[in-house]
Symmetry: C2
Subunit: 245 residues, 2 copies
Amino acid sequence: MNDVINLLKAHKSVRKYKDKAIEEEKIRSIIEAAQSASTSSFIQAYTIISVENKENRAKIAKLGGDQKYIEECPLFLVFCADLNRHKVACDIHDVEMQEGYTESFIIATVDTALAAQNAMIAAESLGLGGVYIGGIRNNPNEISEILNIPTNVYPVFGMCLGYPDEDNDIKERLPMEVVFKKDTYTTDGDLERLKEYDSSIEAYYLDRTKGMRSDTWTGMMARMMSHIPRPHMKAFLEKHGFFMK
Amino acid sequence: MNDVINLLKAHKSVRKYKDKAIEEEKIRSIIEAAQSASTSSFIQAYTIISVENKENRAKIAKLGGDQKYIEECPLFLVFCADLNRHKVACDIHDVEMQEGYTESFIIATVDTALAAQNAMIAAESLGLGGVYIGGIRNNPNEISEILNIPTNVYPVFGMCLGYPDEDNDIKERLPMEVVFKKDTYTTDGDLERLKEYDSSIEAYYLDRTKGMRSDTWTGMMARMMSHIPRPHMKAFLEKHGFFMK
């Protein structure tokens, strides 16, 4: 439809990078683009940390699920939801910040994600590729200690970026009718659509692995969702001032 | 730096729209772009509802903070974090979904925001403008009832889109050094930077309002953060299965 939409639709995760640094001006453009994203009531509730220190990278790679590309990628960014500087603003104006509300947690988390997605798109427009790293929530206490992350701030995800040294397939998404509804939430017809999607995903994996892997979307989701997901997150967030009041 | 980054950096909220429908194929491109965003372990944990029904639009506009543009915009999308179809996937494969964990809440909320930001960028690339509507969290119970939103799903935000009938200024963001850190989280020098930013924002409002409004960023944040933010969200989310376990 246009070049921007073609770029968005061409997204695929990239986990293998050329041994080539990203130019400083490109990094600045990526961060500027991130900052240009929408932000709830101008709150700008995020901080982006670029981890250059090699030792810390290695530690985070291990803590983040033993993902080597965290260590190897030219640029590794940690996106933190951040209400710390709003606390500073309250201090400056001698008022008390209302801390620990679920709503503030949502605002800061969404703000962070919108900025990050702009960063990803900006990076891809510059010929880079990357991947989000939810794995930093595997060991958020240790990672927060390494990065010196204070109260009212939490690391939401990481992002590896670099010049691509692999070309993955674009993964077919759910049928549009499953995720896009008119007027009200309804699941009419979705079961059939999910079955068709399962067949399509199954064919994709069979083809890609020459018959070695047979998998479906509902199968993958059932496996994943039947395991307790990172049960330490609640205690970790509370420690960082996000009490879900 | 390139056209995509220029587009990202040119973002401004648009709340006034021409009386012109958005072409169906453009809407489909916007949703396709949304679906192309990164998604945690392929979970695709969101549903987008386009509210066309005029009565419901009017109700939501009122419930969402009496924002007329929710009623008037050509396209109003409600972005919901959605783990309902993953429950269906678990049912299909006869396993029990682990529900109510904070981690799942984060995954679904982030997935939704990434998709939404792609939608916003796609829309802007097509000559449209828009604004996120956090106001749907003012009355999430009523809005969920109108939209028939079930357990394991919650409306994160809305989005108004249309052909712009106003041209707002781009709002200056925080100095990059405040939000972008090397290696560790540090606030060294930030107080000075915030003061400079305050001066710049103050000058902007004075200029724009011909001296009628004097405001600073820390002042706005202090006012906002000293009020309890949507304290009903916790109970609402629990009602919808998000227990923050």
